[in-house]
Symmetry: C2
Subunit: 242 residues, 2 copies
DNA sequence: CGCGCAGTTGATTAGGTTCAAGGGATGTGG
DNA sequence: CCACATCCCTTGAACCTAATCAACTGCGCG
């Protein structure tokens, strides 16, 4: 056993990953040749995080590109009042830490594990060298950053909306698109976040989320299954109500 | 004269710009050699916009990288309620349109001129070719996108803050950092936006901006000079109040 | 000089926060 | 497998802030 919390695959060339997850299934490396991929794999360090554990903090130097191998993480900032404002969520194959990769600037936000999470860390220097040789990777990162800008813009749009119903509905639809499974007419959404988490995404209190969710249930638009599942019964009307 | 609203410098190799503004004073081209710069200049198309005029709309294909030569522009989305939510402002030397450059995707937001504005437009195809030859430009764009992500994150943080005072103060400080001029103890800020513009930045109504601004004046923290200037008298206390 | 837009100010209202208490689910250890 | 503890969620009531609606002011401009 290589320890409980941190498994370093450096010597083995990360055989555990190679042919497995972190690498070919990661979009930004999808274009690499076998031989190049082996080089990358040799640099990867594995690290596991418990639910709720911090990965980096705003202001930290975090000299890695972190790829999510398993689990789910979030980036967030603290509002002036001290509430946690979620900025984004990142699942398998997504990466964070790109900012410090380039300029060596400190982190612009906090990052924590939502669930038990395994990351693949690529040290900054190694990655920069890789980038220079493979401009196609740079291109993919550029694209990813552009879509990230797009997502943040949508979040700004959501938070700019006064109405709490609209914000919550927009979030539900969004989560549905990302995590929903079709169930005949309906869409079953496994929520990655608690009520408080949802609240911290859309800038309201957890009580409001609770109330609005139950209101939507009473209006027959959704069904609440336990605390972590929502069945969207009428996406069309839900969209209209936003 | 080459027309009132659109000046195409293609034939002349954009002599007007060369040695003048759009090019060497634009950060992303700062590393180009004279000869390479001449190539870029030959591709540039000038276009002028009146105050309030749309540059592109959400969903448009806008196959240009647009560099601000003179003036000021904003990107924005419409909230679900129909209010205009400003996403960002871009002044001389800044660029927009990077998203469609790569993937050819439609615009994720609207863009309009805040003041009379002159843009330098570089057609997408030409720019992509340029990027392939100059990975250093790609790198600069990557960096710019990263800072843009950072700004949007801060905006999300601001909008996630419930308190309207805090939001407005945060905006004032931000504008102060960007547009402020030191006046001894004080900081004079030329506002690039109307009250309504400020309101559309921080997701409140123009009435609220007006009230809060006057309250800050009465508390001796700021001085209002006409409608487009604010004198910040005590930045330290202002920060505390946020 | 007067028109029109931008900003201000006031009164009212509505919606969400806050504070407080009760109810369920989940998981752990006996 | 049940009992218990904890965490999370729900629900209620009061409050408060910012939106809304409406009228007024004043500045800039033709």
């Amino acid at each position: 056993m290589a320890g409980k919390k941190s498994i370093n695959c450096q010597e083995s060339g990360c055989l555990k990953c190679h042919g497995g997850f972190c690498g070919q299934r990661v979009p930004i490396f999808s274009g690499l040749k076998e031989s190049d991929y082996a080089k990358v794999a040799g640099l990867i360090v594995h690290k596991d995080y418990d639910k709720g554990e911090m990965i980096f903090r705003e202001g930290d130097l975090f000299p890695y590109l972190a790829i999510v191998r398993t689990g789910l993480i979030k980036t967030f900032k603290y509002t002036i009042e001290g509430r946690e404002q979620i900025l984004g969520m990142f699942g398998e194959g997504d990466f964070v830490g790109e900012i410090n990769l380039l300029s060596g600037k400190p982190c612009s936000a906090n990052c924590a594990a939502i669930n038990k999470t395994g990351l693949c860390l690529i040290p900054r220097d190694s990655f920069q060298a890789l980038l220079k040789q493979h401009s196609d990777i740079m291109f993919l990162i550029l694209e990813e950053l552009a879509t990230r800008v797009g997502r943040l813009e949508s979040l700004v749009q959501q938070l700019g909306t006064q109405n709490a119903d609209s914000r919550l509905i927009a979030l539900l639809i969004q989560l549905g698109e990302r995590y929903g499974k079709d169930q005949g007419e309906n869409l079953l959404v496994e929520l990655p976040l608690s009520r408080e988490g949802l609240a911290n995404y859309i800038g309201v209190t957890r009580e409001t989320v609770s109330r609005k969710l139950n209101q939507l249930k009473e209006d027959g638009l959704i069904e609440l299954i336990g605390n972590r599942k929502v069945l969207i019964k009428n996406l069309v009307i839900l969209r209209e109500r936003a």
